[in-house]
Symmetry: C2
Amino acid sequence: MPKIVDHERRRAEIVQTTWRMIARHGLDRATLREVAAEAGYANGAIKPYFPAKSDLLEATFRHVFSRTNDRGAAATQGLDGFDALRAFCLEVLPLDADRLDEARVVIAFWQLALHDPAQAEVNDSAMLQWRSSIRGWLDAARGADDDGDGGRAPVQTLAETLLTFLLGAQVAAVFDPDFNSPDQLVAQLDGQLDLLRR
Amino acid sequence: MPKIVDHERRRAEIVQTTWRMIARHGLDRATLREVAAEAGYANGAIKPYFPAKSDLLEATFRHVFSRTNDRGAAATQGLDGFDALRAFCLEVLPLDADRLDEARVVIAFWQLALHDPAQAEVNDSAMLQWRSSIRGWLDAARGADDDGDGGRAPVQTLAETLLTFLLGAQVAAVFDPDFNSPDQLVAQLDGQLDLLRR
């Protein structure tokens, strides 16, 4: 068994290789053997880190959410309310090649999560975290600008609507890029934020 | 080779069996052998209808869109503008067990479409059709109620935003049903339609 520091670094390298392979070639290509070959490791060198393909896939799914969440944390630092909300959404939207790769990997994992409780749990916990952040920012925005209008939609509905939009944008950008360029996605987002501001 | 009428009926039966199997057990279970067993056919009885698994999957993906489109056509008959738009969206949203099954199958097919041009083409042509209908209804709504306000968002942006929402709703309803009950999805939809009405 390798030293702990090397162990963590190697695990990270393997996961990096895996998510790029899935983005480019799909889930079926990401076997332990193919990942080892792509990462330049000997065949069998993955097993000490990820005994089964399912372990590797779960770590890879977590990694993709971590990438998004790390960007979101950096972008929203020092912000609150609508400013934080918009900054976070701009990191979730697939606005560049890297994030389109993330979207491809997430679409692949959704299919796994339909019938694999471990993958579904990774998705659930990421969605709970996003939901909690979005609600917090919406509450802050409403508190700072509360005009006492009881007719406004509940924060819960608004938060779910925004989540639904962010999930759909992953699909729309990957399959219909001609209608969902970065500018067009940002215009769609700003429409959604208008809806929340009212 | 069976007679043409029987041939068409058998094809339809096989596709019906396949989409339900994919909804319940996932893509990996939908082999020609498993589908034959589930449909009560002899092993090898699928081949005259669908020579390869990819042919069966493509026909199944088309079938799921046809189900939605047939419901949409029935629901929008005699309607135009916002009424048609809302009626169509209510047929696309996964508001019951059958449509949640459709959503599961569509999520599975998206993963295939990432790396399979034939499946991607099925998706593209369905999305072009939805886009064209949505734009037509939006144009009609705007024409009937045109206040000459040049500040409104272009129909194209509004149509894509609604498509993005409808795609995201497939994912949200399947993975987060506690936050996306039928009532909650309809409330989200009505928020989206408010956005289009302004």
